[in-house]
């Protein structure tokens, strides 16, 4: 909630300042923004529905058991898959990762989960392709997946 207020205040401040300098230009800008939003909206709503369904099936409790201590080498694989597909906001993902750490999950598994979560987005594909195009989106995600695994292995070795 406080974040929402901050975001609204910052946006309002910029709109106000812009209006003060040039009202016409501000209107043009907001109009452009609205047009872009309109174009994105169907993809965004699809993303919203997909994420809700996915995280309903793979709940935090399910994740705890999937990535748990007993998972072993399979843990990295599951972490990579779930992290790549899912879209979990930081304020939910990090406390979850903290709980996993306390329950004895290795740094490598945690790094895999966190980095794939951040860099790879299968569910966000509908939104990403609108801006980057299909081929660039696919290549970016594949490279990011490999990169995320590399990062996790290095983090595991270093820690």
């Amino acid at each position: 909630m406080p974040r929402d207020v901050t975001v609204i205040l910052i946006t309002a401040a910029f709109i106000g300042a812009s209006c003060f300098v040039d009202r016409c230009k501000t209107w043009n800008g907001l109009n452009k923004g609205a047009k872009m939003l309109n174009k994105l909206l169907p993809h965004l709503l699809l993303l919203l529905a997909l994420v809700s369904v996915f995280l309903g099936i793979v709940s935090p409790e399910t994740l705890m058991t999937l990535l748990g201590k007993e998972a072993g080498g399979l843990g990295v694989l599951i972490a990579a898959l779930v992290g790549s597909i899912a879209l979990i906001p930081g304020p939910i993902a990090y406390p979850l990762a903290g709980m996993l750490l306390q329950s004895g999950v290795s740094y490598t598994v945690l790094a895999t989960f966190i980095t794939t979560l951040m860099m790879v987005g299968v569910l966000t594909f509908p939104v990403e392709k609108v801006y980057l195009g299909v081929s660039i989106t696919i290549i970016r995600n594949v490279l990011s997946f490999i990169g995320a695994l590399l990062i996790s292995i290095l983090v595991g070795v270093l820690l």
Binding site: D4, I15, S52, Y94, G98, G133, I136, L143, I151
Partner: protein
């Protein structure tokens, strides 16, 4: 083909609506999974309903106020290390989910930012955001956060170089959006 598409309601609306109806029905039947999904739907909707309009209002303003020349000079082709540092700084002090960064990245590219710098921006946005790193450090420790960031930096710069090379070789660019005009 274009004319036919114009009148068509995007198929995404249909799929999204179908999924939402499914969630609502499962919720009404008081199924556990329906309650989970309904909770997520509510959580994400509330997050987006404020964030998304604000992001696009700011992007629209950036579009009209930031001169293309300014972007080209600082983070365009041949802007070198300095350009890379600029986009990393820009990304670090932002917040929000990665899907909010794609329209910004697209705007930068449209205004003359090089492909390499666009992907350095996305890389930094996904792995080095200051607000998220504070969160990460609080739950996983500073050592984990610093090591992960230090390792991530060269990796996403390498990815950006590959993307730039791919774009140069094949001529593939980002999507041109009609609404840009």
């Amino acid at each position: 083909m274009k004319r036919g598409e114009r009148h068509k309601v995007p198929v995404e609306y249909g799929i999204a609506l179908g999924l939402v109806i499914m969630i609502v029905v499962m919720r009404l039947l008081d199924m556990e999974i329906g309650r989970q999904m309904g909770g997520n739907l509510w959580l994400f909707s509330r997050q987006m309903i404020v964030l998304i309009p604000c992001i696009f209002a700011l992007i629209g303003l950036m579009d009209v106020w930031i001169p293309n020349q300014w972007i080209q000079q600082r983070i365009g082709e041949g802007s070198g290390l300095k350009g890379a540092i600029y986009v990393v700084m820009l990304a670090v002090f932002q917040g929000g989910p990665l899907y909010g960064a794609f329209p910004v990245a697209h705007l930068l590219w449209k205004k003359g930012c090089s492909i390499r710098n666009v992907f350095i921006y996305l890389g930094a946005f996904s792995t080095l955001k200051a607000p998220m790193m504070l969160f990460e450090a609080a739950f996983l420790g500073w050592k984990f956060t610093l090591v992960r960031s230090a390792v991530a930096l060269p990796v996403f710069i390498f990815i950006a170089e590959v993307m730039a090379a791919y774009s140069r070789r094949t001529g593939v660019q980002m999507n041109q959006l009609e609404a840009d005009g």
